[in-house]
């Protein structure tokens, strides 16, 4: 019942945007007619080109995010183990956290001369500090009582990490992952626009904007929102519900 209620509330929240969109369309020159956009959507989604552009951006996000998770995890482990490492890495993490996405994108694309790796590095650079800070906080708050119990019952390092530490820091991991994922999508679009990519979500968005193809701009925007919401509600929250099912 609770699940159905939540679904109804979510659908209502989305539907509430329609009258706002309609009002905005009637009162500005740059907002497309929602009905025209809705009519164009099936054709837009049936084109192979649409999916290849989504695919390449998704590929960049997934690889960049994976790199950010690995790098962030390593940084968090080092910061948790060693004071000197914490002091040194904190500077990098703080810098990365506060670097504007556009500047990171320009720098990475300049360094890699617009190569594919540049897009992945941008996402990695922007997402890794979120993972590093989130995981470091999780590791620092690890339950010492449970660690003692694990020691007494001789669980060993691997069982302790798998069955005690990881579940304990899971909320920190999910929180960090959620932030990193949201930011990854934002930054990849910026990077694709600034990097003058020929293919990808940002490239198509930029192209449509440049030629004032406002219906297309809106279609890309809708796809963007759909992907982000799907990953959040269809992947992250489902995984979270499964991991935290013990909370009842």
């Amino acid at each position: 019942m609770q699940k159905e209620n939540n679904l109804i509330i979510s659908i209502c929240a989305v539907l509430m945007l329609l009258p706002i969109w309609w009002i905005a369309y009637r009162n500005t020159n740059f907002i497309a007619d929602p009905f025209v956009v809705a009519t164009a959507l099936p054709h837009f989604l049936s084109q192979a080109d649409t999916w290849s552009n989504i695919g390449i951006t998704l590929y960049r996000v997934v690889l960049g995010l994976a790199g950010g998770v690995v790098l962030g995890t390593l940084a968090a482990l080092a910061m948790n183990q060693n004071k000197l490492a914490e002091q040194v890495l904190s500077i990098y993490v703080t810098t990365a956290l506060r670097t504007p996405s556009a500047i990171a994108a320009i720098m990475a694309l300049a360094i890699f001369r617009g190569a594919e790796i540049g897009y992945i590095v941008v996402v990695m650079f922007i997402t890794f500090p979120f993972m590093a800070v989130g995981l470091r906080d999780g590791l620092k708050s690890a339950d010492k009582d449970l660690a003692e119990a694990s020691q007494i019952y001789r669980l060993g390092s691997l069982r302790y990490i798998r069955h005690v530490l990881l579940p304990f820091i899971a909320p920190f991991i999910f929180s960090a992952l959620r932030n990193a994922h949201a930011l990854a999508w934002k930054v990849i679009v910026v990077a694709e626009i600034f990097g003058a990519a020929r293919i990808g979500f940002g490239a198509q968005f930029d192209h449509a904007w440049e030629y004032m193809q406002m219906v297309e701009v809106h279609l890309w925007l809708l796809v963007f929102i759909a992907i982000v919401l799907f990953v959040e509600y269809g992947v992250l929250r489902v995984a979270e519900r499964r991991v935290f099912r013990w909370r009842g």
Binding site: D145, I152, R154, L155, H163, P167, W246, R247
Partner: protein, 264 residues
């Protein structure tokens, strides 16, 4: 002090210091196999330090700790199996009762085909068989502590340490669990070292009470409880022994200075 073959735990000349601050000045005692021993001491006398040492968590500053005639420390993979019932249950909340117990069995290298029987047997003894697949948070405080006792018994330990395991429970639950604990001890023959602040609890449960002095502690007295089993918590003889121990303890621990001034 010479340990005999039925000595499970031998503590000799145990000293624990944190930097220059001594927590335990010199402790000597032995625990025999199958014995139920209570440890009684004032707050701050170093009971936690002693528990940490004899549970293998904290190496002693000086002295010998032997389990089954082998040093507890530096035993590597031959380290003895111990059970521990903490003040708070310390179960993993993300694992069911069964999964919590299975983890300990896996770590103890018990063959998988024996897990089910071992778990069922102990949960039945502790009257919590119906909660096998429950999450710890679905259980009451008393039920969680029962699971914690089951976990300690499951590894067939050389001895079980219990650190005020009933102190966070309401009196009715604690009373019933005390009675059960006495029964479990009688059925399993486990060796139990039970730390408590409650003298009556110590008298009701233990064969012997090791009374410590104020910190940095030493053993003040090995008190053998002169009451045959089975015992009843409200037995007047328990109250008499409790009163006797209070008299001795007052002498060992001295009066609280605030109370002395109140008397004056």
């Amino acid at each position: 002090m010479t340990g005999t073959s039925d000595t499970v735990l031998k503590v000799e000349g145990l000293q624990v210091s944190y930097g220059s601050i001594p927590a335990i000045s010199s402790l000597d005692f032995e625990i025999k196999r199958g014995e139920f021993v209570a440890i009684l001491g004032p707050s701050g006398c170093g009971k936690s330090s002693m528990l940490n040492v004899i549970s293998g968590l904290l190496p002693p500053t000086r002295g010998v700790v032997e389990v089954d005639s082998r040093p507890l420390y530096d035993a590597g993979r031959h380290a003895p199996k111990l059970g521990y019932v903490f003040q708070a249950h310390r179960l993993l909340p993300w694992r069911t009762v069964k999964q919590n117990l299975e983890l300990v069995l896996a770590a103890s290298d018990v063959p998988r085909d024996q897990w089910e029987d071992n778990i069922d047997r102990l949960l039945d003894i502790l009257h919590i068989g119906q909660f096998k697949n429950s999450w710890p948070m679905q259980l009451s405080g008393g039920q969680r502590q029962r699971v914690s006792i089951a976990r300690a018994l499951l590894v067939e330990p050389s001895y079980i340490l219990m650190d005020e395991p009933l102190s966070t429970l309401d009196e009715v639950t604690a009373r019933s669990l005390r009675q059960e604990l006495s029964g479990i001890w009688a059925r399993t023959g486990a060796t139990i070292v039970f730390v408590t602040h409650s003298i009556r609890e110590a008298v009701y449960l233990a064969d012997r009470i090791i009374i410590l002095t104020r910190g940095p502690s030493t053993v003040f007295e090995n008190y053998h409880v002169p009451i045959a089993r089975p015992r009843a918590y409200d037995d007047p003889r328990i109250a008499e022994v409790e009163a006797d121990i209070i008299r001795r303890v007052e002498h060992a621990w001295g009066l609280d200075p605030i109370k002395q001034s109140e008397v004056a």
